[in-house]
Structures are given as structure tokens and as C-alpha cells.
Amino acid sequence: MTKRNFWGYFVPYGLWLGLFVIAPVALIVYQSFFNLDHQLTLTNYADYFRSGVYLKMTLNSVWYAFLITLFTGLISYPTAYVLHQLKHRQLWLLLVILPTWINILLKAYAFIGIFSQDGLANTFLRFIGLGPHQLLFTNASFIFVATYIQIPFMILPIYNALDDLNPAFINASQDLGATHWQTFRHVIFPLTLPGVKAGIQAVFIPSLSLFMLTRLIGGNKVITLGTAIEEHFLTTMNWGMGSTIGVVLIVAMIIVMQLTNDHTKGAAK
């Protein structure tokens, strides 16, 4: 194959990449250097770092994304582990994936119904004599729903990592005297860590910029960077500031990608 032919195959996706990935990112960076009066300036960045509001918002975003990722991971790893040992695991996996086929907005509205004053959750709480409580528009419900939505994206890479794990490693570990728990701690978990990292990438980064859920479920009590961007673009029309926050988000994503990538030489894939 000639070099020219080779690049020929890349043209369709290359166009896509250029038009819908590189160009928008470039535009965001470009916009972030303009103030409301369309003057070239650095004030957006200065504002971002000077005003405590944005920094707090950033911390908030990172903190909630961290919590969502943590809970997702705590639920997903054991689930993937058990799932992997089941007989009809393809069917179970399908059940795990199934919710991802439903639109996120629909799921959010469903949870509004469930968590509302007269919803299923409160009916149950009343039934066992603990309710009713204000469930909707709390931080807890926001984390709960976000975790629920993200779980499949964490389970899948972990499940695949477990599937790729050569069972001979487990036998070898037991052969050398390891109990089930020791085998898990020293062999299974370290060797499936790439799956966990892929899961973190798939969950943490989108969680940084969740804005629909913060509004619909969290009742805008948690203002994340995603909410701020939406406000700047649609309400205050300060595209420059919105873009600046966008740039911050992109930088945050790059940092997370770097942290969760394998840098050690010769590490097993």
C-alpha cells in the first residue's frame, strides 16, 4: 500500500475530526480570550482565578465527580466480578447495558417521579414509618442518580479486563499458597487495574460537566462547571467566560487522562 492510499482511508474520519472536534476546541480557546465587548483580553482567565466563585465551582465539580466515580467504582467492581463468574453472564451483561439505551433525560424525569413527595420512594418510607422526606433536589439524590447512570460505563471495562485475565494466573497464585482474598489483592485486582482506569476515564470526565442532572435532580444546589458553562452561553451570554471555563474543563480532562494512563514501561496491556 502506498503512503498516499493509506492516508486516503483516513479522509472521512479526518474531516469529521477536523470539523467537529478540532475546530470547536480551537473556537473555544479562541473565544476564551474575548470579553463581552469583543476585545482581545486575558481578563476571563484573571477573573476565573481571582474570583473565589469559579474556583469553588471547580472544586465542587471535582469533588462531586470524585464522589460519583468512587461510588460507581465501589458498586461496579464487585458487580463485574460476580457477573463474570455467573453461568448466563452474557444475559446479565445485557441487563447491565440495557439502561444505557434509554435517553438520559427520560431517566432523569423518571427519577423525579420516584423521588417526588408522592413518589415511590416516599410511599415506601411512609409504609415503613420513616417518611416522608425531601428526597428530590438534594445532593444525595444527585449523586445517587448520577452514579446509577454511570454504572454501566464502569462495569463494562472492568468486566472486559476480568475476561481478559488468564485464569492460569489465579491457579498459579493459589498453587503458591494464596487464599482467595490474597489472590484477589495481589493478582486479580492489579491485573485488572487497566479496566478500572478505563472505567474512571469513562465516568469521571463526563461527571465533571454534568449540568442537566444538577438542575433536574440536584435542584441547582450544586453548581458545577457544566452548569456555569450553560449559564454563560444561554443566560448571561458571556461566551468568553463560558469558553474559559470550557478550557479549564478540557485541561482537567487531559490531567485525568494522564493520571489514569499506564506510564510504566513494559506494563502488561
Partner: protein, 369 residues
């Protein structure tokens, strides 16, 4: 005889309707090199996994030093395994791999370091402790897998086709090393292979298996010289196998002629099979010939010629000769009476041994090994 280290009694393994192991009985003594030899799917790896603790048998007893260990989990057996694909942990260095089992035992750090260093020295990879597993060649990984197992000082070392991934030259070198290592350590090795050459070269005793049964066990020489049936004769080395008939004790007929032999205890006129190893046949002139054949073709094998010939009755013959023959020539074949080995059809190993006892008397060396 001292207490056997491993004993399998009437071990049977079934998966659904499929029988993997059928009434296996075998005894391993301390400090010997044993080989399970058979084609793939014969059940040899299942036996290894049974002893290692990775397989629950359907029925029968697995004994370790006289104790029944059927239910004992793998991590509590004083047996270690060298796995076929080595299964070295890629997330650890060479030294960490070798130290893995000792670390779990929570031994003092200096003792661990000492034993790891000794084990690495034993497999001649002393300077490799800090390396990554992926930075090792196949032969080196093989040695580390052995070091990781023997550092645990097991009573029995199980080896699951450990040489199959190596190239021919390295495989031969490792055969010497494994044999030497076993003699130096003095522990029991149970080696699984489908390579008859490996089995013959290294073992004190070989178990030849097929279809989940042990067909024959004995020293390499016994099994090579006195295969019990067609399968064993064919699987262990190359052989000429011909149908024949017992004429009387020490007298057989095949290929239209009668010959002296050294086998007895078989009813007269019983149909039998004759085994003649290619290297036991000598080419001669037609006047001295016991059989006459026409040379078809020959291959130069380096240290001998492999000659293919056909006799008057259409049987194919395989002959090993240090001197070449002429393609298409009529030549004579000759052999000695004790080169002829007689196999009864459907004879079991116990019956075979019993029959040998009846006429070989004290001169038998069958059980010495």
C-alpha cells in the same frame, strides 16, 4: 518400598457423559522423575490438575503421603506447579514473582531474599531479579517459573508441558537441566508431555496414557522395548507392526515365515502383533535374508538413513541404517530373535506383567527401574 508420596486410587473423572479419566491407579515414590505421556486430550493434564488441587474428581481417592487430600484446596497442598504458559505475574518483577509464595507465608525479609537468591542461582538467572517479566525470553520465563515453584520447597513438582513453547535446541538443553535439577533437589517430579522423546530422555518411569486410561507404566527402556499394545508401540518411537500368529512358545509366524522369538505364555495359534524397531533391522544380501524387500525411498537424517521398503506381501517396512541403500534394489533383512516383540491383542498391563513372570523368572528387570 517406602511410603509413596502421591497415590491415585480408582480415580475417575466425568464431565456429563464424557469420561476424562477412567479408573486411574498410580503411585509416585519420593525423589523420582515421572512422566505422563500421551496424545492431547488423553487426560494427562487432568491428572496433574487433580494432584495440584484444581480439579475435583468424580470418584476415587487422591493421597499425599498416605493422607487423603481430595478436599484440600490447592493453596494448602505441599505441591507446586510449573504451568504450561508459565503464568508469571506480569505486574511483578522476576524477584517478586519468585518471592510471591514466601511473602504470603510472612517469612522474615532476609530469609525470603536469601531463598529467592538461591532459587535464581539454581536456574542460572541470578542477575535477573529486578527485571520485568515481559523483558525475558521464553527460556528465561520457563526457568523463572521453575524457580518460583521450587523456592517453595514442595515435596512434588508438577510440570505441565513446560518445554512445549521452546525451540528444539533449547528444549534439548532444558531436558538435561530439568533432569539434573530433579536429581540435585531430590524431590518428585511429575512431568506431563506428548513428546515421547522428552519422556524417554528424562524419566525414571513413564505412564503412557490414552483415552483417560494408563495403558502401560515402566522405565523408558521397558516401554520402548516391550510395548504392551499397538498404540504404545506406535506412540513410543517408530516401529514396524505386523499381524502374526503364535506357533508355539518361543516361535511365531508372520509375513509367511516362521521365526524364533523370546516370548511365551501365549496359547498356540493365537493371533498376535509383532513389533520390530527400525534400528533393530539390518540390511543384508539376499542369501542371508530372513525377509526380502524392495527399497522404495530413503531420507538422510544426519546420523542415519531412514529407508522405506516393501516386502513381497505388500507390507511397508521402515529401516534405520548407517549405510545408504539403492532405490529400487532387492535386499534382504535380518534381525535377532530378541528384537522381535510379541504383543497380544487387548492384553492389559497386569496380565502382561503376570505372563512375563511365568517364564522370565528371576532374570526379569521389569520392576527395578
Amino acid at each position: 518400598m517406602s511410603q509413596p508420596i502421591i497415590e491415585l486410587r480408582h480415580v475417575t473423572q466425568k464431565y456429563g457423559a464424557q469420561t476424562i479419566l477412567n479408573n486411574i491407579n498410580l503411585t509416585l515414590e519420593s525423589g523420582k522423575f515421572y512422566t505422563l505421556l500421551g496424545p492431547s486430550g488423553c487426560g494427562k493434564t487432568t491428572i496433574l490438575r487433580t494432584i495440584g488441587g484444581f480439579n475435583q474428581v468424580t470418584s476415587g481417592d487422591v493421597l499425599f503421603a498416605g493422607q487423603r487430600i481430595n478436599e484440600l484446596p490447592a493453596n494448602r497442598r505441599n505441591v507446586n506447579t510449573v504451568f504450561q504458559d508459565y503464568a508469571l505475574f506480569p505486574n511483578m518483577t522476576v524477584a517478586e514473582n519468585v518471592a510471591f509464595g514466601l511473602t504470603l507465608k510472612k517469612l522474615p525479609a532476609d530469609e525470603i531474599a536469601d531463598r529467592v537468591a538461591k532459587a535464581l542461582k539454581l536456574v542460572q538467572l541470578s542477575d535477573f531479579g529486578a527485571r520485568d517479566i515481559t523483558a525475558l525470553s521464553g527460556g528465561q520465563q520457563q526457568r523463572i517459573a521453575i524457580a518460583r515453584a521450587i523456592v517453595m520447597q514442595p515435596k512434588v513438582l508438577l510440570l505441565d508441558e513446560p518445554l512445549s513453547a521452546l525451540d528444539a535446541k533449547l528444549r534439548r538443553a532444558m531436558q538435561y537441566e530439568l533432569r539434573e535439577l530433579q536429581q540435585r533437589l531430590g524431590i518428585t517430579f511429575l512431568f506431563v508431555t506428548h513428546d515421547q522423546e522428552e519422556a524417554l530422555a528424562m524419566s525414571d518411569e513413564i505412564f503412557v496414557m490414552n483415552h483417560g486410561e494408563v495403558l502401560q507404566s515402566g522405565s523408558p527402556v521397558d516401554i520402548y522395548d516391550e510395548p504392551i499394545n499397538h498404540f504404545v508401540a506406535d506412540f513410543i518411537g517408530e516401529s514396524n507392526i505386523l499381524p502374526g500368529k503364535m506357533v508355539a512358545d518361543y516361535r511365531v509366524s508372520f509375513d509367511g515365515h516362521e521365526f524364533d522369538c523370546v516370548d511365551a505364555g501365549i496359547p498356540d495359534h493365537e493371533p498376535i502383533e509383532i513389533v520390530l524397531r527400525p534400528e533393530d533391522i539390518t540390511l543384508t544380501d539376499l542369501a542371508h535374508a530372513k525377509l526380502r524387500v524392495t527399497i522404495d525411498t530413503q531420507l538422510f537424517r544426519g546420523d542415519y538413513y531412514e529407508i522405506s521398503a516393501t516386502d513381497d506381501r505388500g507390507h511397508d517396512w521402515l529401516i534405520h541404517s548407517v549405510r545408504p541403500a539403492q532405490d529400487g534394489a532387492r535386499v534382504g533383512l535380518t534381525f535377532l530373535a530378541d528384537d522381535l516383540h510379541v504383543m497380544r491383542l487387548h492384553e492389559k498391563e497386569a496380565e502382561f506383567d503376570a505372563r512375563l513372570e511365568t517364564y522370565e523368572g528371576t532374570e526379569t528387570n521389569h520392576d527395578q527401574a
